[in-house]
Subunit: 329 residues, 2 copies
């Protein structure tokens, strides 16, 4: 992991394939961003999606002045379930795409190796390579959003399952008869602490008249209660919303304590839009609960910090994964 | 991991340093046991303990006909908290020993590398090397006893913390206001599902007259309610004890589901005296709950099995860890 490519060495493309937007960037061998492009994800099916992705990558290459021979590889991070070995996006929930052969198509079209990764895996790896978790022996990433994603970089490499991503911290069962989760079970962390769970509780509070700022800002529609509105509501005095968010953060802290007991990380990186909007609150609560609930032997052995790279973490991490894979090959 | 030593190659000592007994064995390069010795752990302090350990190792070497030059290394598994890097047993709770420099003392005395490991780590590694988890990509071991130990062999190596063992599955918080645990917190898995927790509930049942077989066998003293008595009580019709044991196993299944979601193991190995006494019951209940409570994506991707090596797992695993370390050196 210590070798770095020179300025004139190979370059790497990172691609963040999200449910609503795409973000593509080119990096040099030292992982400095050379060019980037963002677009809404507009394709109606996987085939059109592949066309859009390929077109964006070519545009970023042109923008960075890169020829094919300078391209070392491409990394793609995406939230849908993946077949990591075959590089296939099995399903993209927000988009309705199914069985999209990302690797095969892009390797053929662009003539370089393509690595496909879970977006939280890529984001956590990005934070490990050049963000908040740099140099950690064991780094755990927790990214609350619509769900709650997790990842772990252990001794320089992402922990993963045989064919798919793992570290599904969002489905850790914390409350046996807790609220119903999107997975069909009860009491999962994300049923209590995702942005969606927070938004739902905040919407109810707004409806009851307990969150006047939030109600004025965005109303009571959970689809409109995004991270910034929640942060603004807390900042401007909706104390009930603050209590809802802090309670969610404390549930994340409990899950973090369990992960500390299992994996003994040096560092826990909290990321995603919700944490970006309220980093101090989340870091405080998660740290407090994790330190108290983890075993005494682990006290003082880990730090809880906010991610540093924002939405660049995934593209950077995906590009760095392509670089790491090429080094192993 | 594929290279094997020939019959005339180096040999390895495995040592299981328990709170009540010690077990020492010599293995050839293919991990076949050549000689073994068991003794009660009688030493009153760490210094006397080191003498006893060294004397036992020398006796096993004589028994196996091994000279110093044939000895590749020694592995020691023990339940107490360890400084893995320095090879120091920080504290042995049942024995009262403190800061025992196992590695330094034995390396000096016996002139070969010494590796110190948590006993459940060693046992799970043993099952991975030549027991129930052979060939697994990711193997998780769960060993309910006085507490509940866990371990994970990931791509051929034990997951560990920076200086100490991890995978403390016994302290996973499963019930926010659950029973008090020995660690001072509430609702930890081992407060609900360890042999001690089971024995306590069974003792109360016996006292209430609901477990006549158990009461007749061993009475109501938790210190006397060991695994075999529990198994015998279940076998001979104490249905309340059976319910207590099954409920404990189901809690282990819930913790196992959380571990499946995090680490996506191929195999979960259940071991220890309690599981040995009732393997079918434990495997059934843990499998049932783990399959239902883990995410759908992991269904069918893992097996739940009973350990195969019994109390040989720790000595064998410890010896194999010494062998693995020597190969890396």
């Amino acid at each position: 992991m210590s070798r770095t490519e020179g300025r004139n060495g190979r370059h790497w493309i990172g691609f963040d394939l999200g449910g609503t937007k795409m973000f593509c960037a080119a990096f040099d061998g030292a992982m400095r961003m050379r060019a980037a492009l963002r677009q809404a994800t507009s394709a109606e099916d996987g085939t059109a999606g592949l066309d859009q992705i390929e077109t964006m990558i070519r545009a970023v290459m042109r923008k960075a002045g890169l020829g094919r021979r300078e391209l070392g590889g491409i990394g793609i991070g995406t939230p849908g379930p993946l077949d990591l070995d075959r590089g296939v996006l099995l399903f993209a929930p927000n988009l309705g795409w199914r069985n999209v052969p990302l690797r095969r198509r892009l390797e053929t079209a662009l003539g370089c190796p393509v690595v496909v990764a879970n977006d939280v895996d890529a984001g956590t790896y990005g934070e490990y390579v050049s963000g908040a978790a740099r140099g950690a022996r064991t780094a755990v990433g927790i990214f609350p959003g619509t769900g709650i994603g997790g990842a772990c970089v252990y001794e320089g490499r992402l922990l993963r399952g045989r064919r798919r991503s793992c570290m599904e911290i969002g489905h850790m069962k914390l409350l046996p008869r807790g609220p119903l989760c999107g997975c069909g079970r009860r009491g999962c962390l994300e049923a209590m602490a995702s942005r969606l769970a927070i938004a739902a509780a905040a919407a109810a509070a707004a409806y009851r008249g307990e969150a006047p700022v939030l109600r004025k800002l965005v109303g009571t529609d959970v689809a409109r209660i995004r991270s910034r509105a929640l942060a603004e509501s807390v900042r401007r005095g909706d104390t009930v919303v603050e209590r809802i968010v802090r309670r969610a953060a404390r549930h994340i802290g409990l899950a973090a304590a369990n992960v500390v007991n299992l994996l003994a990380p040096d560092i826990i990186v909290l990321g995603g839009g919700l944490v970006e909007a309220m980093p101090k609150l989340f870091v405080e609560e998660v740290r407090d609960v994790a330190e108290r609930e983890a075993m005494d032997a682990f006290r003082g052995t880990f730090r809880v910090v906010a991610a540093k790279l924002g939405d660049q973490a995934t593209v950077l991490g995906a590009a760095a994964l392509a670089r790491a894979e090429a080094r192993l090959a």
